[in-house]
C-alpha cells in the first residue's frame, strides 16, 4: 500500500550538486520551520527560527542532534525519533545561511525553509540526513514541483512538464531500486524480508485456523528473530551513514588501449591492489567499480577491459560492458601509453568518447616517450576534424572543409586537458585533481543528485523499519496478544520493500497459502 500524503513535510537537496560547492537543502510543509529549528543553532544559541519574521535569512550552524537517537530511540510515542534540541558544539555539520519563508508566498505555497550549505557535497548530504532525522520525509521525485502545482503556484501550462519530470525521475528511481540496490544490501534486505513474511504468515495462519495450528513455543522464536532484525537494520543504518549504502558521485570511466595502465591508475587512486595488474595485454576481463574520494570529490570509477576488437569471448563481453559504461559516464579518464605511438585503436577509442567530458592522461612518462603532448594534441585536432567532417558529410554530403573550421575545432580540442602522468611513479596526480576541480566547479561535470536523494530515502525507510521493529519488540515484551505483532511486522516488511522497489500486493496471503496447510 502506498503511503502518499501531501500533509507531511518533505525535504531534498534542491540545487544541482556541482555548482561551486554550495548546496541548498529545501524543506517544505507544515512542520518545515519546526524541523529546521531542531537542527539549526544560532551563534548565540538563543535564536529560534519559529520566532523570526518571514522571508528573512539567518546565519548559524546545522548540527546533527538526532544521531544519538539511532542508538536508543525507543520511547513509545510516534514522535520518538524527533530528538531534543542540543545546545553544545557537538555534532556541528556545517556553517549555514537559513532562509525562512512562511506560507503562502513561497515556491510550494507551504512553509519553506532553505538551508544554504557551502561545505561541499558530503556536507549537504549530511545536512539533508539531519533534517530527515528531525522529522522530514525525503521528497519523492518532482514532489516540490508537484506541491507547487497542486497549491496553485505554477501556471497550468506547466502541468504536463511537471508530469514529465515526475515520470523521468521515477524511471531513474525505479532503475536505482532494482539495479543499484543489488549485491549485499539487496541480499540482506531480501533475506530479512523473507523471514519477516514467513513469520507474519505463521501468525496469520494460526489466527485463521486456530484449531489446526498453534503458537506453542513460538513467541520466544519471534523475539529472537526480532532482536536479530533490529541489529541488522541498525547495522545497515550505520553503514548508510558512512556513505556506502549506495554509490553516489561522479560516474567516471577509465579507458585506454590494453595495457595502457588503466588498472594501475585505479589502484593508485584506490591506494590498494584491487584489479589484477599484469604486463600482459587484456588481463582485466570484467568491469570493476570503485568509489574514490580525491580532492573532496567522490568519483565512482569503472575500470574497463581494454577497448579493442577481440576474438576472446570472455573479453568480448568485458569490452561491450566498457562501451556501455562509457555511455553512462559523466567523466572519462583516457589513458594514452606514451611509450607507444597513437594507432588505430586509440582513434577508435576517441571516436567512442569524443562527446564526453574527457581528461587525457599521458601515461608511462617514466618510460621512453614516443608520444608527447604535442603529438597528442595534433592527433586530437585531426581526429576531431575527421569525425566532425564525417558527421557533416553524412548530414550535408559536403566534402570540403574550410580553414576556419579547422582552427575552430583545434581550439575546441585544445580545451581537453592533457596531463603527463606516471601511475608507476605516482606523478601527475596533483594536476589531475586540479583539472577535476576545474571541471567540477565550472559545472561541466556533476554529481548524480538523484542518487543522493535515493540514498536519503533509503535511510529514512531503514529508520522507519527500525521503529516498526522496536514497536514489535515492545509488543512482545508487553505480552500483547500475537495478532498485534503482525501489524508492526508487516510495516517493517513494507518499508524494506520500498527500498528494493517491490510491490506488496498479496504477499502475505500468498505466503500463508503456500507455506501453511489451511482449511479444514
Amino acid at each position: 500500500m502506498h503511503k502518499m500524503s501531501d500533509e507531511d513535510t518533505i525535504a531534498a537537496i534542491s540545487t544541482a550538486i556541482s555548482e561551486s560547492g554550495i548546496g541548498i537543502v529545501r524543506i517544505s510543509g507544515p512542520d518545515a520551520i519546526k524541523i529546521a529549528d531542531k537542527v539549526y543553532r544560532s551563534p548565540g544559541g538563543k535564536k529560534h527560527l519559529k520566532d523570526v519574521p518571514t522571508h528573512t535569512i539567518h546565519y548559524g550552524y546545522v548540527a546533527d542532534l538526532v544521531s544519538s537517537s539511532l542508538v536508543q530511540s525507543s520511547s513509545s510515542s510516534q514522535d520518538s525519533s524527533i530528538g531534543e534540541k542540543v545546545h553544545s558544539s557537538e555534532g556541528v555539520i556545517d556553517e549555514v545561511l537559513v532562509s525562512v519563508m512562511r506560507a503562502p508566498k513561497t515556491y510550494t505555497a507551504e512553509d519553506v525553509v532553505e538551508i544554504n550549505c557551502h561545505g561541499g557535497v558530503l556536507v549537504v548530504t549530511k545536512v539533508l540526513d539531519a533534517v530527515i532525522r528531525a522529522g522530514a520525509r525525503p521528497a519523492e521525485p518532482g514532489e516540490f514541483t508537484k506541491r507547487a502545482f497542486l497549491n496553485g503556484r505554477i501556471d497550468l501550462t506547466e502541468a504536463e512538464a511537471v508530469m514529465d519530470v515526475i515520470e523521468s525521475k521515477n524511471q531513474f528511481a525505479l532503475q536505482n531500486s532494482v539495479s543499484q540496490v543489488r549485491g549485499s544490501l539487496y541480499r540482506t534486505i531480501s533475506g530479512m524480508r523473507s523471514q519477516m513474511i514467513y513469520q507474519s504468515a505463521h501468525i496469520e495462519a494460526c489466527l485463521d485456523d486456530p484449531e489446526a495450528l498453534s503458537f506453542d513455543e513460538y513467541v520466544p522464536e519471534l523475539s529472537e528473530y526480532t532482536d536479530k532484525w533490529i541489529s541488522e537494520v541498525s547495522h545497515l543504518l550505520e553503514t548508510a551513514d558512512s556513505g556506502r549504502l549506495m554509490q553516489e558521485g561522479i560516474r567516471t570511466v577509465i579507458v585506454g588501449k590494453p595495457n595502457a595502465g588503466k588498472s594501475s591508475l585505479l589502484n593508485l587512486l584506490l591506494g590498494e591492489e584491487r584489479a589484477i595488474v599484469t604486463p600482459i595485454a587484456g588481463t582485466t576481463r570484467d568491469v570493476l567499480t570503485e568509489t574514490v574520494t580525491i580532492g573532496g570529490m567522490t568519483l565512482m570509477i569503472t575500470d574497463t577491459a581494454g577497448i579493442r576488437d577481440t576474438e576472446d569471448i570472455v573479453e568480448k563481453i568485458g569490452v561491450q560492458r566498457a562501451r556501455d559504461a562509457v555511455e553512462k559516464a559523466d567523466l572519462v579518464l583516457y589513458l594514452i601509453d606514451s611509450s607507444t605511438s597513437i594507432d588505430i585503436e586509440d582513434r577508435e577509442i576517441f571516436n567512442l568518447i569524443r562527446e564526453k567530458n574527457v581528461i587525457i592522461l599521458q601515461n608511462k612518462t617514466d618510460l621512453n616517450t614516443v608520444t608527447d603532448i604535442e603529438s597528442i594534441r595534433r592527433e586530437l585536432g585531426k581526429l576531431f576534424i575527421k569525425y566532425k567532417c564525417a558527421d557533416e558529410r553524412q548530414n550535408t554530403g559536403d566534402n570540403e572543409q574550410s580553414a576556419d573550421q579547422e582552427s575552430l575545432e583545434t581550439d575546441v580540442s585544445s580545451k581537453i586537458p592533457v596531463i603527463p602522468f606516471s601511475a608507476k611513479e605516482r606523478t601527475g596526480l596533483d594536476d589531475l585533481i586540479a583539472a577535476l576541480k576545474k571541471m567540477f566547479f565550472s559545472g561541466q561535470i556533476a554529481y548524480n543528485d538523484e542518487v543522493i536523494i535515493t540514498n536519503a530515502r533509503h535511510k529514512a525507510l531503514l529508520q522507519r523499519t527500525l521503529e516498526s521493529l522496536r514497536q514489535l519488540k515492545r509488543s512482545i515484551d508487553d505480552h500483547m496478544p500475537e495478532d498485534f505483532y503482525t501489524i508492526d511486522l508487516m510495516s517493517a516488511y513494507e518499508s524494506m520493500g520500498e527500498i528494493t522497489g517491490e510491490e506488496i500486493g498479496d504477499d502475505l496471503a500468498d505466503e500463508i497459502f503456500s507455506r501453511f496447510c489451511m482449511g479444514k
Partner: protein, 623 residues
C-alpha cells in the same frame, strides 16, 4: 412479443446466501422484487460445510446484521453448536463460528422470504438479460420465454453457471448437490461484452453417522455460554443443548492411498481446468503440497438435527469413488463408515469483478448488479455480505438515494468489495483478518458501532433499533470517561486484589484505566475495586475494556485511517480518459483503464500502479 410479460422493480437471479440477502433488502426497502431460483427447495442451501462464521467470516455476519441483513438472525435460530475462536488472542481476531442445522437454516430463510412483503419467489432459470440501445438493463428473459421488465437485476448465480461436478472419471453437468445448472446466462452476458472466468471448488463426502466409530475420535464441545451473532438476539435465547463435533485425523495409509492414485485425480490429470482456492485445498492437494506432513486434522460434523448424515471436514476430494472409499476408511473411526454422498469438485462460470463499480453494478450494463460467488468469491458469509451490499445499492439507485459505500477502514465488507473490484483475483476469494489493514478497528464486537448508522440511513435499521444503538454508544462513552477518572489508592484491599490477579502492587495511586492497561488485568476483574460501577450490559463493558486496554494501538490505526481517507476522498471522474493522461507507465495505464478506480486511494491499490503514477494522476486531475 413474449406470452408472459411482467413489470417489477428488481429481479434477483439465484436464491443462495447472496440472493436471499439481496432480495430481502430490496423488498424491505419497499421495492417489488422477484427472486428466481432453479429449485425453491434449495433456497439458502448450504451445499458445502455446515458452518456460519469462523475467522473473519464471523465479522462479516456481524456486519451484515448491523446493516439490517438476515444471516445472523437466521443462524441464531438454527445453530447446533457455537464457539468463539481465538478467545485467547486479541479482540480483533475473536471470531464467532456456529455449526448450522443445514435444513433448519434453509427452511427458516425460505419462510422469511415467503413472508416478506413485496417479495415473490419463482422457480425458473433466467436465460438472458435484456438491454436498451444505450446498454442499460431493461429486464430479463426466462427459459420459458417470459419477459420480466425491471429497473435493476442482481445476479447471484453461485456455482450454477455451466456447473460441472467431477470425481474421478465421473462427470455431471449439474450445479452443486446434483441440482440443475444454468446453461444460458453466460452466453447472454458474453454477448453483452462481459468477461467471464472459470473457477473451481470442492466438497468432501457425507457419511452415515450410524456407521462411524466415535470412540476413536476426540469430542469437541461448544462454548458455554453461547454468544449470539445478531446484535438483536437476546443471549438468553441461544443457550441450547449443543451438538458435539468429532476430531480425528488422516494417517500415513491415507496419504499412501492418495499418492498411489494421483494419476486418477482429475485435478492432476488436467480434467479440471478451473482455478481452485489454495486456502481450502482438497486432501490430495494437501498431501502433495505439504508432503512432510504425516497427518491432517479431520472434523466429523453433524449436518442437522434430523439426519444421520455427517460432514467429513478437511477431506474434500475429487478422487474416483473407489479411492474415496479406501481413503476415508483409512481414517480412525471411519473404517466401516458408509458414504451417503461422494466428495466432488465443481467448476463454474463467474465474472471478473474488476468490471464492476464500487456499488457492484456492471460498468458496461447499468442497472445490472452481481454478488457472491458470481463475483469470484467463496463462502456463505462473503456471498451474503455481497448480496446485501448489492441489494441495498440497487435499491438506492432506483430510489434515487445516495449509494451505500463502505471503505476499508469501516468494515470487512469494505475490504471484500474493494479487493474484488480492484485487484486481480486468481482464485475464489476468501475473507481473512489479515486482509484488513485496520483490523484493530474492524472488530466483530463493534460491528454495530461501525455500521448501524449506515444501516439506518439506507432504511434497513428501524428507528427503535437505532435508538437502542445510540443509547449503547453513549453508555460506552460515559463509562470510558468515568474509568479514566476514577483513581484507586495503594491501600491494602487494592494490593490484595492485584495480588489475586497476579499483578504487581501499586506504589502510588492509579486510575482504573491505568490498571486495565496492564496485560494481566482487565475491566471485569477490577469490579471489586470499583464500588461506583454502574450496572451495564456485557456488550458495553466489553467495548469499554477493549477501548482502554488497547488505546495506544487503536489510536495509531486511527491516525493511519486519517491518511487513508484523504486518498479515498480524492475522487476520479468516471469518464476520465487514461489514454490522454501523459507520462503514465504502460502497465499502470492498462490497469487503470480496466478498473476505472473511483478514487486516488483505490487507484493506488491497483496492481502495477506506483506512487509516481499516482502523482501524475493527481497533477492531471488538478489541471
Amino acid at each position: 412479443m413474449a406470452l408472459v410479460e411482467e413489470y417489477t422493480d428488481v429481479v434477483v437471479v439465484g436464491a443462495g446466501h447472496a440472493g436471499c440477502e439481496a432480495a430481502l433488502a430490496c423488498a424491505r426497502l419497499g421495492l417489488s422484487t422477484i427472486i428466481f431460483t432453479v429449485s425453491v427447495d434449495s433456497i439458502a442451501m448450504m451445499p458445502c460445510n455446515p458452518h456460519i462464521g469462523g475467522s473473519s467470516k464471523g465479522h462479516l455476519v456481524r456486519e451484515i446484521d448491523a446493516l439490517g441483513g438476515e444471516m445472523g438472525k437466521c443462524i441464531d435460530h438454527t445453530f447446533l453448536q457455537s464457539k468463539m475462536l481465538n478467545k485467547s488472542k486479541g479482540p480483533a481476531v475473536h471470531s464467532l463460528r456456529a455449526q448450522a442445522d443445514k435444513t433448519a437454516y434453509s427452511e427458516r430463510m425460505r419462510r422469511t422470504l415467503e413472508n416478506q412483503e413485496n417479495l415473490s419467489i419463482q422457480q425458473m432459470e433466467v436465460n438472458e438479460i435484456l438491454t436498451d440501445e444505450s446498454g442499460r438493463l431493461t429486464g430479463v428473459k426466462t427459459y420459458s420465454g417470459a419477459v420480466y421488465h425491471c429497473k435493476a437485476a442482481i445476479l447471484c448465480t453461485g456455482t450454477y453457471l455451466n456447473g460441472r461436478c467431477i470425481y474421478g472419471d465421473v462427470e455431471m453437468l449439474t450445479g452443486p448437490n446434483g441440482l440443475q445448472s444454468a446453461t444460458h446466462l453466460t452466453d447472454s452476458l458474453k454477448e453483452h461484452g462481459i468477461i467471464m472466468k472459470r473457477f473451481k471448488t470442492g466438497t468432501p463426502c457425507r457419511m452415515d453417522g450410524r456407521t462411524i466409530d466415535y470412540s476413536k475420535m476426540t469430542p469437541q464441545y461448544g462454548d458455554v455460554p453461547v454468544v449470539p451473532f445478531s446484535f438483536e438476539t437476546d443471549p438468553k435465547d441461544v443457550q441450547i443443548d449443543q451438538a458435539t463435533v468429532w476430531l480425528t485425523h488422516t494417517t500415513e495409509e491415507t496419504h499412501e492411498i492418495i499418492r498411489e492414485n494421483l494419476d486418477r485425480s482429475p485435478l492432476y490429470s488436467g480434467k479440471i481446468s478451473g482455478v481452485g482456492p489454495r486456502y481450502c485445498p482438497s486432501i490430495e492437494d494437501k498431501v502433495v503440497r505439504f508432503a512432510d506432513r504425516k497427518s491432517h486434522q479431520v472434523f466429523v460434523e453433524p449436518q442437522g438435527k434430523n439426519t444421520n448424515e455427517m460432514y467429513i471436514d478437511g477431506m474434500s476430494s475429487s478422487m474416483p469413488e473407489d479411492v474415496q472409499i479406501a481413503m476415508y476408511h483409512s481414517v480412525p473411526g471411519l473404517e466401516h463408515a458408509k458414504i451417503v454422498r461422494n466428495a466432488y469438485a465443481i467448476e463454474y462460470d463467474c465474472v471478473d469483478a474488476q468490471q464492476l463499480t464500487r456499488t457492484f453494478e456492471f460498468k458496461k450494463i447499468r442497472g445490472l448488479f452481481s454478488a457472491g460467488q458470481m463475483n469470484g468469491s467463496s463462502g456463505y458469509e462473503e456471498a451474503a455480505a455481497q448480496g446485501l451490499y448489492a441489494g441495498i445499492n440497487a435499491a438506492m439507485e432506483i430510489l434515487g438515494k445516495e449509494p451505500l459505500l463502505i471503505d476499508r477502514s469501516e468494515g470487512y465488507i469494505g475490504v471484500l468489495v474493494d479487493d474484488l473490484i480492484t485487484r486481480e483475483n486468481h482464485e475464489p476469494y476468501r475473507m481473512m483478518t489479515s486482509r484488513a489493514e485496520y483490523r484493530l478497528l474492524l472488530r466483530q464486537d463493534n460491528a454495530d458501532l461501525r455500521l448501524t448508522e449506515k444501516g439506518h440511513r439506507v432504511g434497513l435499521i428501524s428507528d427503535e433499533r437505532y435508538e437502542r444503538f445510540l443509547q449503547k454508544k453513549e453508555q460506552i462513552e460515559r463509562e470510558t470517561e468515568r474509568v479514566k477518572k476514577v483513581s484507586v489508592g495503594a491501600g491494602e484491599k487494592v494490593q490484595e486484589v492485584l495480588r489475586k490477579c497476579g499483578s504487581d502492587p501499586l506504589s502510588t495511586s492509579a486510575t482504573l484505566a491505568e490498571l486495565i492497561r496492564r496485560p494481566e488485568l482487565d475491566y471485569f476483574c477490577l469490579a471489586e475495586l470499583d464500588p461506583e460501577r454502574p450496572d451495564l450490559p456485557y456488550a458495553v463493558q466489553e467495548e469499554v475494556n477493549i477501548g482502554i486496554k488497547y488505546e495506544g494501538y487503536i489510536k495509531r490505526q486511527e491516525r493511519q485511517v486519517v491518511q487513508f481517507e484523504k486518498a479515498e476522498q480524492t475522487l476520479i471522474p468516471d469518464d476520465l480518459d487514461y489514454d490522454v493522461v501523459p507520462s503514465l507507465r504502460t502497465e499502470a495505464r492498462q490497469n487503470l483503464k480496466k478498473v476505472k478506480p473511483a478514487s486516488i486511494g483505490q487507484a493506488s491499490r491497483i496492481t502495477g500502479v506506483n506512487p509516481a503514477d499516482i502523482s501524475v494522476l493527481l497533477v492531471y486531475l488538478k489541471r
